[in-house]
C-alpha cells in the first residue's frame, strides 16, 4: 500500500520537532535551516503549517533534471536526489511549482524530501499528529496535490 505524508495545519503547534528530526536524520546534526520539511508561521491567522514535497506524480523536478540525478524510489514513491549525479544547476528548483526542492549553498547540490526511505522521521517526531504517514488514499494531502496539479495549465492531460 502506497503511503504518503498527511499534513494537518490545525494540529500543528509550531514546535519544530519535525525540522529537528529531519535535519538530524539527514545531516546528523540539529540544523532546522537545512530541514526539508518546513513549518510556516502565520501570525495573522494564529496558525502554523508544516509543508514539504508531495512526491507529486508529475515530478517536474525529475523531468527537468538535465543529468538524471532525480529518480523515483519504487517502494515509497519518493522522488530522490542522487547527490553523486547532481551538478547543482538548479533547474529543478525553478521547475517545481511547489517550491519544495531547494539549492543548498553548503553542498552545491539540491535537497528535497525523500520520505526517509519509507519511514519519515518528521512524522515520528511530531507530538500532535500534525504530520502522519498514512495510506495515500486517505490523506487530504492528495486533495492538495490534486488542487495544485489541476491548477497548473501546462499539465492538462486527458486520455
Amino acid at each position: 500500500m502506497q503511503k504518503s505524508l498527511h499534513l494537518d495545519p490545525a494540529k500543528c503547534t509550531g514546535c519544530l520537532q519535525c525540522e529537528m528530526a529531519c535535519s538530524y536524520e539527514k545531516l546528523g546534526e540539529f540544523n532546522p535551516s537545512r530541514s526539508v520539511i518546513k513549518v510556516f508561521t502565520f501570525h495573522e491567522e494564529g496558525r502554523f503549517a508544516p509543508y514539504t514535497c508531495t512526491q507529486c506524480d508529475e515530478a517536474w523536478c525529475l523531468r527537468a533534471c538535465p543529468v538524471d540525478a532525480i529518480t523515483m524510489d519504487l517502494s515509497s514513491g519518493a522522488k530522490v536526489v542522487i547527490d553523486d549525479k547532481c551538478v547543482g544547476c538548479k533547474v529543478c528548483t525553478i521547475s517545481c511549482p511547489f517550491g519544495t526542492i531547494n539549492y543548498v549553498q553548503e553542498t552545491g547540490k539540491v535537497a528535497k524530501c525523500d520520505l526517509c526511505g519509507g519511514d519519515p522521521e518528521c512524522a515520528k517526531a511530531c507530538p500532535t499528529d500534525a504530520i502522519t504517514y498514512i495510506d495515500a488514499n486517505a490523506t487530504g494531502y492528495d486533495r492538495m496535490k490534486a488542487f495544485a496539479e489541476k491548477s497548473l495549465p501546462s499539465a492538462n492531460t486527458t486520455s
Binding site: 509543508y51 544547476c89 492538495m144 501546462s154
Partner: protein
Amino acid sequence: MHHIIIGAGPGGVVAAETIRKTNPTDQITLIGDELAPPYSRMAIPYLLVEDIEESGTFLRSTSHYKDHRIDYVQGRVKSIDASAKTCLLEDGTELSYDELCLATGSTPISPPIEGIDLPNVHSCWTLEDARQISALAKPDSDVVLMGAGFIGCIILESLVKRKVNLSVIEMGSRMVPRMLDENAGGLLKQWCIDDGVNVHTGTKVNAIKESPDGMLVELDNGESIKADLVISATGVRSNTAFLEGSGIDIDEGVLINNKMQTNLANVYAVGDVAQGMDFSTGEYTVQAIQPTATDHGRIAGLNMAGKNAEHNGSLNMNILDTLGLISTSYGLWMGVEGGDTAEIYTPELFKYMNLRFGVDEESDVLVGATTLGVTQHVGVLRGLIESKIHLGEWKQRLIDDPMRIMDAYVASTQELDNAV
C-alpha cells in the same frame, strides 16, 4: 507504429521516454548527430569547473536507451520528405516514419564580425567546444567573452577559477538584458567587477584581429583588448535549415500548436527548435530553456503515443548562477502597464526581489518575478504564476515583504482557516 525523433537533447529524450512509457510496443528511433552519447548542455559549465567528468553530463545512463528499447542512431538528418514520410541521413540512409518529432535544438549565432572565424574564437555550446575552451583557458591567459547573456554568465565561474584575465563585452546596457532588469543586471555587474572581471556593457566588438602575440579585440569605444581566447556567446538560433522545402511551417522556429504539432498532423516539434505558445503573452516564441524542452517533450510524447495532451503555453523562466550569485526570472518579469509591484532592493547585500502583479481581474495575481541572491522556495513563483492564484489579502502582505512568497502559496493552497 514507428516514431522517429530527430535530436537527442532533453526534449527529444523525454519525448522518446514518454512514448515508451505510454506505449510499450511501438518502435522508437532517436537520432543524435554528436559523437557523445546524449548529453546535457546545461551541465557543461560544471564540466568546465571540473566538478564532473564528461560522463557526468550524460542525460541518461548509456544502457538506458537499450533498456527502454529506444533505438539510438548516431547520424545527421539532411532532409525529410513529409509526403513519403522518410528522413534522409547525411550518410545516405533513409528511414521511414509514421510519426516524426523534430527536436534538433539550436546553434549559437555567429555574429558578422571580422575575425570571428579565427581558430581561437569558440562558442560554448557543445562538449567539443568545452574541450577547446578547457585547453585554451590557462592561468594568466587573456580571455574575452563576447556576450553577457545566460550562457556567458553561467561559464564565468569556470573562467575565473581558471585564473584567466577575463573581460566581458556586452552590447546591451546591462548584463543578461533578456532575463534581468536594471536593478538585477546592475548588481550582477558589480558582483563580477568585485570578483576581478572587467565588464564592459553598452559596448560592441568591432573586429577581432590577429597580432604577433595572440589576438586583439577591437571595441566600438576605441579600446583594444589582447586575447588568447575569445568566447562568442551572443545568442542561439533554431536549427531549421534541413526543413527547407519540407512543407513544414517555420517562422523563427518550427511553429507548433498546443499539442506540439506542426502544420502536418504527424510531425511534432519540441524544445529549442520549436516556436510554441508563451504562457504569459499568448504569443508564439522560441524560449530555448530546459524546462520548456522537457515539458514540450512530454506533451509531444503523449500525443504521439495516442493520448490527448495539451498545454496553455510554457512559462518562460530562468535560473542563473554567476560566480555564486544566483538570479531567477519568471514570466512577465518586466511587469505589465498599470500592474502593481512588490520589491525589496538591498544592494549592499546583493539581494533583490521584484514581484509583478497583473491588472483588472488579475490585479492580485502574480504574473512575473525577478529574484537575485534568493534561492529558497523560488519554484513557488512558478506555482503562483501558472496557477493564477488570487492572492487576496496576501497581495498587500507581499508588498510589505516580498520574501513571504512561500507563506502566500501555502496559505492559498492549504485550508488554514477551515482548521478545527
